[in-house]
């Protein structure tokens, strides 16, 4: 058994930068690289792409990421684990093989499937968010269960260089190689809890190394344009030391680690994953050197019998319109414009939002001192069942050019199709995780 495994995280979301992963592979001395690219709604949008074209439905940046990384992954013998398969891990694996053949690199890819449970749902299951049947929210588009390490471990047991999954819980992408390398028992809840702490700290990539942290003068972060992404050196007992490649930008300290440890955590004593119910309340963080933080003390209780399922549904459309006012009484004229739109549209929209950007658009109220801004951008947004109805919002805002208050300029109109997300639970025994091997 190795005495330490180094796992890097080169992407924390689908739109993340490409270079930090490359730097990690080239200079990071990694054993594993993980790219976490799947947000809650990303997979539902990917399912829509797959329906239109059966060869799509994987991460839109997959090709660019793999092209840049593949030669270096081979050279440095770094294994890649990623959920860039999104709605179509099989097509993603085939695309990687294509790229490998083009670059004349021998590569083995494993696709992990089984998370797509759309066919197992009737629509009558209760949605967590509403307490009503799933299908009450709208026509259902997709249903993907969060799988855990038990879906990834068979893939790691193969000779695969790249493991590509669909929906798995984010921390499981990191926990799986630890269980695989160290032979951790999947019954050892405290070990899995600590491994989940490691995964949770790494999963948002740059958010551990000073990304999304800086506040100039108070929380300064050096060289953010070249932010390095993190890695963890993990010992067989689960103790982890987090760091980043020397010379990269960013900062990794107690404060960045604390913000990330609590990020999106609904109950620090019960962080539920498919692998374990992790307990973060005894976690000890300590700074042991420049850009080096040690984490230990994660604990856990047995995993749940059910898995969370993310269900995508057609949620209608949003129509938006914007127009700007400037100079004396800009806010007054913008508010008059807002009231005109409200009067004209309120009977046709149940949900209409009027924002005065530059004053109250972000939080609907001002938490600081009120002052009269020089310019205001009026934004109107309304929810609609059809694209045609949604278009009315932008049309009404545009009509203010010749029918509204003085000096309105720069009108813009937009229509967005909405994919909503709701959740339910499924008995984990209903899932059949599968691995499929591809060779180049």
């Amino acid at each position: 058994m190795k005495t330490s495994i180094r796992i890097g995280c080169g992407a924390g979301f689908s739109g993340d930068r490409l270079e930090p992963a490359l730097v990690l592979v080239q200079q990071g001395g990694l054993d594993y690289l993980v790219l976490e690219c799947l947000a809650e709604r990303t997979i539902a949008l990917a399912q829509k792409r797959k329906r239109q074209d059966a060869t799509l439905g994987y991460d839109p940046l997959l090709e660019r990421r793999i092209e840049s990384l593949l030669p270096h992954l081979s050279e440095k013998k770094v294994r890649l684990i990623t959920n860039m398969g999104a709605a179509n891990p099989l097509a993603a694996a085939q695309k990687i093989i294509e790229i490998a053949q083009r670059l004349s690199l021998p590569v083995t890819v494993v696709a992990v499937t089984g998370d797509d449970v759309f066919g197992l749902l009737s629509g009558s299951e209760t949605a967590l968010e509403t307490g009503k049947p799933l299908s009450d929210s709208g026509p259902l588009l997709s249903a993907n269960a969060y799988m855990g390490v038990d879906a990834i471990l068979p893939a790691l047991a193969t000779s695969a260089d790249i493991i590509i999954t669909g929906r798995v819980a984010d921390p499981s992408l990191f926990l799986a190689p630890l269980v695989h390398e160290f032979g951790w028992s999947t019954d050892d809840c405290n070990q899995l809890g600590q491994g989940t702490v490691i995964g949770h700290l790494l999963e948002c990539a740059g958010q551990l190394t000073g990304g999304y942290f800086a506040d100039p003068g108070r929380k300064d972060v050096p060289d953010m344009a070249h932010l390095g992404h993190p890695f963890a050196d993990v010992s067989p007992d689960g103790t982890a030391i987090f760091g980043k490649v020397t010379g990269t930008g960013g900062i990794l300290n107690l404060a960045t680690a604390k913000e990330q440890l609590l990020y999106e955590v609904m109950d620090p004593s019960r962080y539920i994953t498919p692998d374990v119910v992790a307990d973060f309340t005894q976690v000890q963080l300590s700074e042991i050197g420049p850009n080096q933080v040690q984490a230990s003390g994660g604990r856990g209780r047995p995993r749940p019998d059910t898995l969370k399922v993310s269900v995508g549904y057609e949620a209608g459309f949003i129509g938006e319109g914007e127009i700007s006012y400037a100079g004396s009484n800009a806010l007054g004229r913008a508010k008059l414009a807002g009231s005109i739109i409200r009067e004209r549209l309120q009977d046709r929209f149940t949900d209409l939002r009027i924002d005065y950007i530059g004053s109250t658009s972000v939080h609907r109220t001002s938490f600081g001192q009120d002052s009269d801004p020089y310019e205001i951008r009026l934004r109107i947004a309304g929810k609609a069942t059809t694209a045609q109805q949604a278009a009315l919002v932008g049309e009404e805002v545009e009509a203010l050019y010749t029918n509204g208050p003085a000096g309105g300029g720069g009108a813009r109109k937009y229509i967005h199709e909405l994919v909503g997300i709701i959740s339910t639970f499924i008995d984990r025994n209903q899932l059949v995780p599968q691995v499929t091997l591809f060779h180049a």
Binding site: P268, T281, V362, H363, R364, R379, I421
Partner: protein, 103 residues
């Protein structure tokens, strides 16, 4: 003396569906008891009354030290269907830090 939370602590917002999470981390661990006493779930509920429609639960993490606030019905439906511009509620950490406390 009245001070802004911004002057003694930092925060990051997170989202899960229609639920907002807000960490509150003192720069100086010595300020943690002060935060525990004054930044109660009720006080945050009053401060964010225009934002948070549902319950607020506060979790204490003396081991860090830090507080975590979990705010239900705070994101006008959540990231995929909300009419707000900041659909994730990511900027709300700085709304929390505008809160005034006595120290």
């Amino acid at each position: 003396m009245i001070t802004k939370l911004y002057d003694i602590a930092h925060s990051r917002a997170g989202d899960k569906g229609n639920t907002l999470t807000l960490s509150l981390i003192p720069y100086n661990a010595d300020d943690y008891p002060l935060l525990c006493t004054q930044v109660t779930a009720e006080a945050v509920k009053r401060h964010l009354a225009d934002i948070v429609a549902g319950e607020i639960t506060r979790y204490e993490l003396p081991n860090l030290p830090a507080l975590q606030f979990v705010c239900q019905q705070a994101l006008t439906g959540g990231v995929t269907t909300s009419l707000t511009m900041d659909t994730h509620g990511k900027s709300l950490s700085f709304a929390l830090l505008e809160m005034l406390i006595e120290c």
